[in-house]
Amino acid sequence: MNDTTRFIPDRLRSPLEQRIKSWETLLLAVAIAIFIVNSFMSPFFLNAWNLSDMTFNFTEKAMVAFAMALLIISGEIDLSVASIIALVSTAMGAAVQIGVGTPGLVLIGLGVGLVCGAFNGFLVTRMGLPSIVVTIGTMSLFRGISYIILGDQAFRGYPPDFAFFGQGYVFWVISFELVLFAVLALIYYVVLHRTNFGRAVYAIGNNPVAAEFSGIRVARVKFILFLLTGLMSGIAAICLTSRLGSTRPSIAFGWELEIVTMVVLGGVSILGGSGSIPGVVIAAFVMGLVTFGLGLLNVPGIVMSIVIGALLIGVIALPRLWERWRLQAAKR
């Protein structure tokens, strides 16, 4: 904010140079480096089944991260996603107790996710409230409802065919979740980078007033983005519940942080207006590889959270330090 004078290059970079110097390429290099380091650190890393297990570290979070990326690009944020997952899981668990089958459970999961997203979207776009506070509020409200329903109990007894979503394999080591992750990544890539709607999301993030005057229905686009985030949280909740086979109110606790980290690590500007889906996809792999590698080395989960927290601050701080250093070098 202090730097009003930015370093302006005297010519545009060539397309090839642009691609090589992009955030996505850097991330990809980091991902490959971590992959190589991991395979040297642990003899168990380079195993098809282990690598397949590794993908479960990020697939569910990444599904939510796609929708979150669009939301953050548009200049909003949703911190209630992990709580939506908890509430969706609780709703499905309650439905199981009265004998609802797998198709009904999926419908309930998607429906509750949509309702939660609509509630956030209504408060932000109709009431004009800041999304940070609204979703901090709904973050405790949604999980709070799970606690009211479940207390210190757990829901179990999901039908056997429900287990497919989180534990099923489509082909050899390719899990259903991994396929779903890939399909959703493709859909979000097309929506964000190849449609009018995607361009509107960028326009809103860069300048909501200008977007409004250009004929974009800002409130409606934002409402749809909150709906999508709720829906994706619902899908993630179905996969996670199916994988764990039980529901506790503390399910997915702290995921909102990891999801936002994933999005920011993927090169999405936290201030809105820029970012890409390929970046988020690679960031998902980076985080999955890091947590899996540390796990193979017997590093406890809470220490991994230090790494994630440091990653979140580091990926924003380092480019800014670099920019400052370059500015000073240019002044000399």
Partner: protein, 327 residues
């Protein structure tokens, strides 16, 4: 002016608190016995301390989500210090707790000031980092009552003039910060930096540095609350006060602190904290499961922020009407 004072947020909240107490008392008269009210206030003391710090941070258009993790980390550090050196006098421990908390706050502040990283990202990150450090320090173990020295545990419970020391500290902080916010240039800078950062810059206020001091104060108060919490409950562990940062934000929002910065009072933050403190103390009395607590503070945040927004809109209309009358 008198009408303004009558409709002020603080008075409305005081009314709401009295109403709340009245409703509870109508079924459980023992709840408003002076002894119990002292207990409720004492239970709320850490929340009041954190809410004051959070209010100052929010005033400058920032947010500090690391307060509960800071509280837990500082609490663990002073508890381990007490185990290692039982002879260390309590005033030294308190000074260390405030300093340590302030240093953690400064870390947030520097990232926001020097690197202009959005505060929500910084404090989400430091929140997990602080919790992780507690685990590394304690290796996941608890520090229990029998390991702590008697002086360490006794200090906040010592009763002075009918109130425990912990309550006196909260009251002292309220008085101190009422003076700081209204009578010092730094206090006014917090309002200016949040009310209109551009105007504040032209008025010679360094907005970034003001935000840095806000985080430092919030950190120092979290550190102080960390010692009080650990000594009062005589236990320190990794998940101490987990999720408490949301209650703190809720207290501020209920207390009428505008989340977009620039407006809010120390008294408001204190009353917001008391409102939540009374609810959480009353839940077991009226035999509602404590599992309701989370949903209630969530709803309170949403309702309060919606009320704040509509109040601001009304204010705008009144100004317009006055302008019309004037012409």
């Amino acid at each position: 002016m008198s009408k303004q004072a009558l409709m002020s947020r603080e008075l409305l909240l005081t009314g709401a608190i009295i109403l709340l107490l009245g409703i509870i008392a109508s079924r459980f008269p023992a709840f408003i016995a002076p002894g119990n009210l002292v207990n409720v206030f004492n239970d709320t003391a850490p929340l009041i301390l954190l809410a004051i710090g959070q209010m100052i941070v929010i005033l400058t258009r920032c947010i500090d989500l690391s307060v509960a993790a800071n509280l837990a980390l500082t609490g663990m550090v002073v508890a381990m210090l007490n185990v290692a050196m039982p002879g260390l006098p309590v005033p030294v421990i308190i000074a260390l707790a405030i300093t340590f908390g302030a240093v953690l706050g400064m870390f947030n502040g520097v990232l926001v000031w020097k690197l202009a990283i959005p505060p929500i990202v910084v404090t989400l990150g430091t929140m997990t980092i602080f919790r992780g450090i507690i685990f590394l320090l304690s290796e996941g173990r608890w520090i229990n009552a029998h390991q702590l020295s008697d002086a360490f545990k006794a200090f906040p419970r010592t009763v002075l003039l009918g109130l425990p020391v912990m309550s006196w500290i909260a009251l002292g902080a309220v008085v101190l910060f009422v003076v700081v916010m209204n009578r010092t240039s730094l206090g006014r800078a917090f309002y200016a930096a949040g009310g209109n950062p551009h105007a504040a810059t032209y008025a010679g206020i360094n907005v970034g540095r003001t935000q840095f001091w806000a985080f430092t104060i919030s950190g120092a108060l979290s550190g102080l609350a960390g010692y009080l919490w650990v000594s009062r409950f005589a236990v320190a562990f990794v998940d101490l006060a987990r999720g408490f940062e949301l209650t703190v934000v809720a207290a501020c929002v209920i207390g009428g602190v505008a989340i977009m910065g620039g407006s809010g009072t120390v008294l408001g933050a204190m009353l917001g904290a008391l409102f939540l403190g009374i609810i959480s103390n009353a839940l077991p009395v009226v035999s509602i499961s404590p599992f309701w607590q989370l949903a209630i503070s969530g709803s309170a945040i949403i309702i309060a922020v919606a009320l704040n927004a509509s109040a601001n809109r009304k204010k705008g209309r009144i100004i317009l009407k006055r302008a019309e009358q004037a012409t």
